[in-house]
């Protein structure tokens, strides 16, 4: 494939060991006086609550409720400390890991909501924002949580999202989504969407894996954009990451690539692997938009606020 306009990419490299970072955090926590203070405080608060519980009951049973309250309070404080260790270790590890690659990491932020799929779901949450991996492209990779339902019916799906803004709008809407027989049956039973339409391209394999849709009446624009080499790039991604339910979406100049995956500091190489797989498709889009990307080098400027 042509090398024109390829974005720079750092090769996969080693990094800090998460287990070491976690052990260091644990050591810091356990050696801190404040932590044991909190555990003791938890025991005192638990004892007080146990006392009140025992006092309120008939016949009064203060002694064992105080003891149970102390134990529960201390255990809660221990667990809270443990959870804090995990959170801090995760943030420190990713910050160091990203810095070694000259990337930028932010633990929290708001989810992007500028493409149709990123807007879907009743609630959305985001975390672990990485940027700076393709200098000048403004691309950001982050963990996106799509939440549907609530209570016992709540369903959370984790996606790793690569988001970037193109130099100019390439098409009003393009959705490359995993093929869903349920959605197709629904379409047949209840009619087609008034906004977009399914577009069948020349590749049988592409049709087996993806459902391509574009704006009604703009089928030619989709065909012009999805040239044979673009189709081959999509298929290459599908072959390299078969279980990821990959999605590609463009809305005007906003582009988002998604796979179903959960980011873990124990497997940070997933980020590099995905970036390597997404790179040819992202480069192709950026080439189509006639330049690298419009965004400034510091991608954080375009974060949703």
């Amino acid at each position: 494939m042509s090398r024109k306009g390829r974005v720079d990419y750092s090769p996969i490299m080693s990094g800090p060991d998460y287990h070491e970072v976690e052990a260091e955090e644990r050591r810091l926590l356990f050696s801190s006086f404040g932590y044991w203070d909190i555990v003791a405080l938890g025991a005192v608060v638990g004892a007080g609550l146990g006392f009140l519980y025992g006092f309120a009951r008939e016949p009064r049973q203060q002694a064992w409720t105080v003891f149970i309250g102390m134990a529960v309070g201390a255990v809660c404080a221990l667990i809270a400390g443990w959870a804090k260790v995990q959170g801090r270790a995760r943030e420190r590890f990713f910050t160091r890991w990203a810095a070694e690659r000259q990337w930028h990491y932010e633990a929290d932020g708001k989810p992007y909501e500028d493409t149709l799929f990123l807007q879907s779901g009743e609630k959305r949450k985001a975390s672990d924002f990485f940027s700076g991996f393709w200098p000048g492209s403004g691309a950001v990779l982050y963990q996106h949580k799509r939440i549907e339902g609530s209570g016992d019916d709540e369903k959370v799906t984790n996606y790793l999202v690569l988001h970037f803004v193109l130099g100019r709008p390439l098409i009003d809407l393009l959705q490359v989504a995993p093929r869903s027989h349920t959605a197709e049956l629904g379409e047949k039973l209840f009619g087609h969407s008034a906004i977009d339409q399914r577009i069948e391209l020349e590749s049988t394999e592409l049709d087996q894996h993806f459902r391509i849709s574009g704006p009604r009446g703009q089928e030619d624009d989709v065909r012009r954009l999805l040239t044979p080499s673009a189709i081959v790039r999509l298929l290459d991604f599908q072959r390299a990451f078969p279980g990821g339910n990959a999605r590609f979406e463009i809305l005007g100049s906003n582009a988002a690539f998604l796979v179903e995956a959960t980011l873990s500091p124990k497997q940070p190489q997933l980020i590099e692997e995905l970036l390597e797989l997404w790179r040819p498709i992202a480069s192709w889009l950026m080439e189509e938009a006639h330049e690298g990307a419009r965004l400034p080098a510091d991608a954080r400027e375009d974060r949703p606020s």
């Binding site: 494939m1 042509s2 024109k4 020349e202 590749s203 049988t204 394999e205 592409l206 049709d207 087996q208 040239t227 044979p228 080499s229 673009a230 189709i231 081959v232 298929l235």
Partner: protein
């Protein structure tokens, strides 16, 4: 009456399966044809670039007449060939001849730096990318279609219904530019 209903239901079921299967065969065959049209379009793009390549290189290396004549001959052979099997060889040779012409051109520093040559070289590289991609898609469609008509139970009736295996397009365009 009951056995008759069972037989009718079975016949209807088999008929329905056959109809679905036939429709799938037609769809797969159409996909092969559609992908081939795409290959053809990309090959035509390659053919259209050859006169420009000859014209530019001739301005600097007029004595390479043999190479230009070979390019013209291979281009005309490739254009005359019809279908994936017939086109495979002449297209491979043409791609190799284009690569040789570019290699010759690159040995002339003034030509290598000329703006029109650089833009043509880029265009050729892009066209070769598209030819390679269109070929991958076509061969993928052929593989799926051929596998479908050669596997049970379709293999029993595909031939009767006129579904013949399609030919792969095996032109080697590696290392053209």
């Amino acid at each position: 009456m009951t056995p008759l209903y069972v037989v009718l239901a079975l016949v209807a079921f088999v008929g329905l399966l056959l109809a679905f299967s036939y429709n799938r065969l037609v769809r797969l065959r159409n996909k092969v044809a559609e992908a081939w049209r795409d290959v053809d379009v990309q090959l035509q793009r390659r053919h259209d670039l050859i006169p420009r390549l000859v014209e530019i290189v001739k301005g600097y290396a007029a004595h390479e007449n043999e190479l230009f004549a070979e390019l013209a001959r291979l281009r005309s052979e490739a254009e005359r060939a019809d279908g994936a099997t017939a086109k495979s060889e002449p297209e491979s040779e043409l791609a190799a001849a284009v690569a040789r012409t570019i290699a010759v051109a690159e040995s002339y520093p003034s030509l290598r730096a000329a703006g029109n040559f650089l833009s043509l070289q880029k265009e050729i590289a892009e066209t070769e990318d598209e030819v390679a991609a269109a070929r991958i898609i076509y061969n993928g469609n052929v593989r799926i279609y051929n596998t479908h008509i050669q596997t049970f139970p379709v293999s029993f009736y595909a031939d009767l219904l006129g579904f013949e295996p399609a030919a792969f397009f095996q032109a080697d365009t590696n290392g053209v530019v």
